[in-house]
Amino acid sequence: MKAIIKASSVISPQHTHSAEGFPSVINEVISDRLTCLEPDYRNLINPIQLRRMPRILKMGLAASQLCISRAGGVDPDAIIVGTGLGCLDNLEKFLLEVIDNQERITSVLPFINSTHNAVAAQVAMLLKNHNYNITYCHRAFSFESALQDALMQIEEKQAQHVLVGGIDECTHDYVKLHGYLGYWKKPLSNLQLLGSGSSGTIAGEGASFFMVSGQPDKDVTGIILQGIHTFLTPQVSDLDSIEHEITWFLRKCRTELQDIDGVLLGLNGDNHFDQAYYALQKGFFPDQTIYMGYKHLCGEYYTATAFALWLGFVTLKSQQIPDAVNLTRIPDKPVKNLLLYNNFRNTEHSLILLKNGAL
């Protein structure tokens, strides 16, 4: 089960929305959260529609429009979105209004815009697209589930071109409440996150979209999504089981461990959960493997792997590993196979394999 990624777009806390490649300047923020650098939406969305949209809808719609445009205006056969928290800001507003007004009259818009599937639905309405449309909300497996469904749609020939997205927003109350649970560090520079070696991480957000296709262009080469694998909660100290899952997954994708050129790790600076990543770097992969980190650029959120997929895509496409994400001192070498490994608080683990080659 594999497909070609034809185009991508991401709105993130970095300058990523204006071009498909990796930005030349890194956005440094001293905070406990990273929020998105947003485009001028009036260039992408009808201003009459814009006025009713909450921020996450604007982000999702703009990212989807950019992706479709970069894919040459393809009308997707399916629109599939993954989100951990949906339109959380409007949900908070709606519920607070219900309480404030003693369960009587409430404003209409926050309710309309509070559902998890609002982004996928609005993308379809904007495109006048009546095809398969679904939203997955499975915590840190949300984006992976969306991607898995896209591959299945293509495999079963239900769709040729699938628009897949991963979106989540970081709201004030979300950060505050999870702060009580010790999720976040005290404000620090995001560029110091990965080496901080203390408890907690930085909250983040983003909207990423991909046009995934089962029908390659004429040149039949490109960035291939080789497969996805998810697994739950191996024991914290049980590195063997993580290695076993990776080995099993690579075998399923007909790829040898020695063929892996680079690994994109979901390191988030939290010393409770980063141990698995560090352990994997000590001897499991071949010596010349390039390791990359990305959560200092986007923060931690349920669909952060969508940002990782975008980073993997642009790295393979450009054949350049940006210094800002390169954790090794290995000189640049051709990168053909890239493995993405993420674990969310050691509960949800996911593996995605990308290859630069033929479908």
Binding site: P47, I48, L50, R51, R52, I105, S107, V108, L109, I112
Partner: protein, 87 residues
Amino acid sequence: MEELIRQLKLDIIEALSLEDVVADDFDADTPLFVEGLGLDSIDALELILLMERKYGVKIEDPKERRNVLRNVRAMAICITNHTNTNG
């Protein structure tokens, strides 16, 4: 009345997030729906809520709602009448 009309215009702009509109862009007799400001049925619900929450005016009859929400002057007259009747 003129002060109330001015305030209603500001309330409408805020309640409906009319980001590119200022109070001087429309007058008290400008139609609110379809032509004029170009509002729609979802905006109508927000305006009914505005009348009820801020000015304490509850309009139950759909025909009367349509009449009151035709422009800012009609809304202001309705609020003034309600205030005069109910103190």
